[in-house]
Structures are given as structure tokens and as C-alpha cells.
Amino acid sequence: MENKDLIRLNRYIDTMPSLSITVAKILEVTKDPKVTAKDLNKVISLDPVLVGRVLKLVNSAYYGLSNKVTSLVNAIIMLGINTIKNLALSTAVLGNMRKNSSFKSLNIDGFWRHSIGVGVASKLIAKQIGIPMNQIEEYFIAGLLHDIGKIPLNEVFEEHYLKAIRLADFKKMQLHDMEKEIIGITHTEVGKMIAGKWRLSPETFECILHHHNHNEVPEQYYKIGTTVYIANIFCNLNQIGFSGDRYPKKIEGYLLSSIGLSDGYLDDIFDTISAEIEKASVFLQVAE
């Protein structure tokens, strides 16, 4: 990958707009002078870019935090409603300006559904395997943000990315292998750049970087890394949204039991995930 391409990627990441799907709702919610923390939390948690920007702000203002803030609830209380509202608004305005130019190869709606799907699946698995209540949100965020690296790739290398997606489909191969071949960088590597800039927690960082090769996840993040790995394959196999991977690897049998999941568990969660995505989709629709 040439230096100038890396520069273009970095520049895009620095002013990455919110997903066009959430823009209208963000604009509506932030116009309300009586907007509550709950309203903001709800709409922000449906946009991976916004989640990242909120966490970035809180982790850069608070230099001395020994543990990075990973909870939106915590971030909203620390920064306050007005700051969060204005941050959401400025990110959405960027999104509004670029409405016509985003997502030429990857369908935005498909990408969004896949991201939410993996977030919800990760959250459900976390609850099932007994992760403490105060860490569940982190599993959701890691799942929501796992494919964040695809956004800049899709925008900055639009034609090459289209080629990579088509070739992955044609050759029945994994998208990130085609990304490496055609563009020179994978979405997990770009995701790593984003996670660094947004000062995301080490757990989220590892999930973004290794959600295709869980063996690389450091041992202390095994549970969350494996959860997001499983959630991602599950959503791809069941075509919950579409993020460019039509031919995912199968989930290795031992993986489920290694985090305390029964074999049959995944069969039961498809309907729940679909229902949550539909609920979110309805919520994001604005009154005419």
C-alpha cells in the first residue's frame, strides 16, 4: 500500500461521518431541546461511527483514566447531554453533506444490518455465557464496530473495493483476502487504525483486528474475541445484513463450548436478532 493511499485513508477516518441511515434520526433527536440521555443513547448505539466518536472524545479528554471508558451510559454521564448532543449533530451533519457519495460498493442498509446484527448477537451470547451485566454493553459495542474498517475502504477505494467484493463472491473466498490482494490492506487493518485514533478499549481493539482469525486474540480477551468471531460468522451464514462476505468459514465445533455455549444455542437466536434489527430500523424512520 502506497504512502499516499495511507494518507487518504487517515484523512477520511479523521472526518468520518455517521452512517446515512441514522442521520435523519440524529438530526430529529438533537433538535429537541428536551432530548433525554436515553434518547441519545438509543440513537447513538445504532451508529458505529457515532459510538466511536463518543468514546474517542471521552478517552481523549480524560488523560488520566486508568481504564478506558467502554460504556456509552458512562460516557454520556461524564460528558453531559449537551456535549453528546452537539457531537452527534456535528457527525450527522458531515453525514448529511456526503449523502450522495457514500457506499458505492457495499450497500449501506446491508452493512448497517450486519453491524447491528453482530452487535446484538454478541450481546445475546454474552448474556448466555454469564458475562457480568456491566460488561455486556462492551460486547455489543465490539460487535457493532467490528467491520468499521470497511467504511473508509469503501469510500476511498470505491472501484477497487467493488472489484474485491465481486471477486470474493466469484471465487467463493473471504473478502479480506481479496482486499489484501487488490487494495493492499484489509478492513481489519484499517479497523485497527480507527480503533487507535478513537482510543477504543483493548478488548474492542482486538475484536476489530482479529474477528477473522480468533487465534490471534490475546488470552485475556478470549471470551469477547471468540464471541464476536462466532457472532460475525453466524450473521454471515444466516445472511443477516450483508457486509461483503457471502462465503464465511464454518464455526469450529469446539469454539462454542470453549466459551460455555451449547451447540443448539445459535439456532434459537436468529429470530431475536431479526426482531431487534427491525425495531431499530423502525426507530430510525423519522416522521414525515
Binding site: 433525554t36 436515553k38 454521564i77 453531559g80 456491566n134
Partner: protein, 307 residues
């Protein structure tokens, strides 16, 4: 260390016959170290008169060299800057410090807006003094070898810093503008959007953040704290406005072992007579509490407190 009060009003300057005693200028405090070094906190309208004093008394000894800390960039805390004469004089060195910005803009650009063409006849980049701008996170810095400055992010509708200055064997703390943290995810199971997990998280977060403020003000020789409203006013209509109720400030200061508490950021509607009454009531209340010798008073222009 000596602290001199140049501006004590919140929100907007309030000149007039009803505010002569406490003063109508917005926030500005001069911290004078024992050896004459100058730290200024706040660039409200009060900084104008401070600048004139510095030019008259200190400038003749040589170029000025000072640090200016702003708590946040709400207009009442930066509006005096274009009228602070030292910024126009070559040879003067001024280091401006302030909080991060949500858009990642520099502190310099935020300051410069109020000196742009539409608002002021001179632009910030035309100033002759040597002025630098530094963004501070929540951190502890060594201003000089013998002066420690710790910052704390407060609760206000914009990112906002409290300052704890330790020098000359004394501790001086500013906490404004600030409102006690509260659980924004509170609710009952009957609410449509009730989320038990968020409520628990929110409760923990609010408690933890308020505890950190307590630690921040601990043992202060002088604490200047936001006290814009009475408890009654606060509960009636001012929750979420980013300011503190006086009664809460008194009790948390006593709990933190603060020695002198200056109640600050007087509401623009508060007349001298009303501030007199409030001060009397608060002093009486503090005197009744046996566990403390805390000295309480309202901030007032012209006051000088030696630490």
C-alpha cells in the same frame, strides 16, 4: 499565594446600581505567588481591569510573563480577552490553557472567533504579544518546578475544567461552572423506556464522578465553587443547567475539609441586597455545624485572600 478577585458574576456582565458592592464583571481571578509570578484564571470581563493594573504596575519591571487558565469557553469566561491590554504589547509572554473541544478544534481557533472580522476590529493573529495556546486534558502538570496544577473535568454543557493549584505551601481550587453529576438514566419500571442495566450503570457513574470531585477539592485552603442557585431555585427549574445549589456546595465542602469556601458565579439577577442575605444565611448555617471551622463568603470584586 494571594488570590485577588476581579470578576465574580456568571453568564453576563451586570453593571448598575444594584450590583456595585459585589460587582458586575464576569469571572476573573488573579493568583499572585509569593515571588510575584502571575497566574490568571478566567478571561471574563473582569480581566480588563486586571490587565490595566498589570500594565501600570508590573510592566515597568519588564515584559509580562503569565499563564492564563480558562475553565471553559462559554462566552462569560473568555469575553474579556480582547480587552486584556497585555496581549497587544510586544515582549509580553502569555500562555493560554483550556479544555479540549468536541470538534478537535484548537484552543487558539476558539479564542480567535470572537476577534474575527464580524465581532472585533482586530484579529487574533494580529496580536503583538507572544501568545501560545495549550489544550489540557484531565491531568497534573508542573507549571514550574514548584507549582503543581491539576485539572478535573466538571459537569457543564461544554467541556469544562476545574483547577487545583498547589504552590507556596497552599492549595487553591476552582470548581466552576459545575453541577453535581446525576443519573441521567434514572426511571421506574413503569416508564416506557425503562432500562434497568442503564439505570444501575448510570447510578454508579454519577456516584463515582461526584466522588472524584470530592477528592479534587479535598483540604483546599481556598475553594472557589459555582453556587449560582439556592436549592429551591435549583429544584424548581434549574436542574441540568450546569450550576450548583448553594446548600449542596456548603455540605460537600465541609465533608472535604475545605478551609475557606468562596461561593461564586452570581446569577445576573442577584442584587447586592440579595447576595447579602444569602451570605448571612450561609454563614449562620456553617457556624451551627460543630464539626467544622469552615469560613464561607460570597465572592466579591476587589477581595484579596492571602493563603
Amino acid at each position: 499565594m494571594k488570590v485577588i478577585f476581579w470578576g465574580v458574576r456568571g453568564s453576563i456582565p451586570t453593571p448598575g446600581a444594584q450590583t456595585v458592592k459585589y460587582g458586575g464583571n464576569t469571572t476573573c481571578f488573579e493568583v499572585r505567588l509569593d515571588d510575584g509570578r502571575i497566574i490568571v484564571i478566567g478571561a471574563g470581563s473582569g480581566i480588563r481591569a486586571l490587565g490595566n493594573k498589570l500594565m501600570k504596575e508590573d510592566r515597568k519591571k519588564g515584559p509580562l510573563n503569565l499563564d492564563l487558565f480558562v475553565s471553559h469557553t462559554h462566552w462569560d469566561h473568555i469575553m474579556g480577552f480582547p480587552f486584556f491590554t497585555p496581549i497587544y504589547i510586544p515582549g509580553n509572554r502569555i500562555r493560554v490553557h483550556g479544555p479540549v473541544n468536541i470538534g478537535g478544534e484548537s484552543l487558539e481557533s476558539v479564542f480567535a472567533i470572537q476577534m474575527s472580522y464580524n465581532y472585533f476590529p482586530m484579529r487574533a493573529d494580529e496580536l503583538s504579544a507572544d501568545i501560545t495556546y495549550e489544550i489540557l486534558k484531565e491531568d497534573t502538570i508542573s507549571l514550574y518546578d514548584d507549582v503543581k496544577v491539576t485539572t478535573k473535568i466538571l459537569n457543564h454543557p461544554v467541556i469544562d475544567l476545574g483547577y487545583r493549584i498547589e504552590a507556596d505551601g497552599a492549595v487553591f481550587v476552582t470548581v466552576y461552572d459545575h453541577e453535581p453529576f446525576r443519573n441521567l438514566f434514572d426511571g421506574t419500571p413503569e416508564d416506557e423506556d425503562y432500562d434497568e442495566v442503564a439505570k444501575m450503570e448510570g447510578e454508579k457513574a454519577a456516584k463515582m464522578n461526584n466522588m472524584k470531585i470530592q477528592q479534587f477539592i479535598k483540604g483546599a485552603d481556598l475553594l472557589i465553587h459555582d453556587a449560582q442557585y439556592t436549592n429551591k431555585e435549583y429544584l424548581a427549574s434549574k436542574i441540568g443547567w450546569g450550576h450548583s445549589p448553594i446548600e449542596h456546595v456548603l455540605h460537600s465542602s465541609i465533608k472535604a475539609g475545605v478551609k475557606r469556601l468562596a461561593l461564586h458565579h452570581h446569577d445576573p439577577t442577584r442584587t447586592d441586597a440579595e447576595l447579602d442575605v444569602i451570605e448571612r444565611v450561609v454563614k449562620r448555617r456553617a457556624a451551627k455545624i460543630k464539626s467544622t471551622n469552615i469560613e464561607v463568603f460570597m465572592t466579591r470584586e476587589g477581595l484579596e485572600v492571602a493563603l
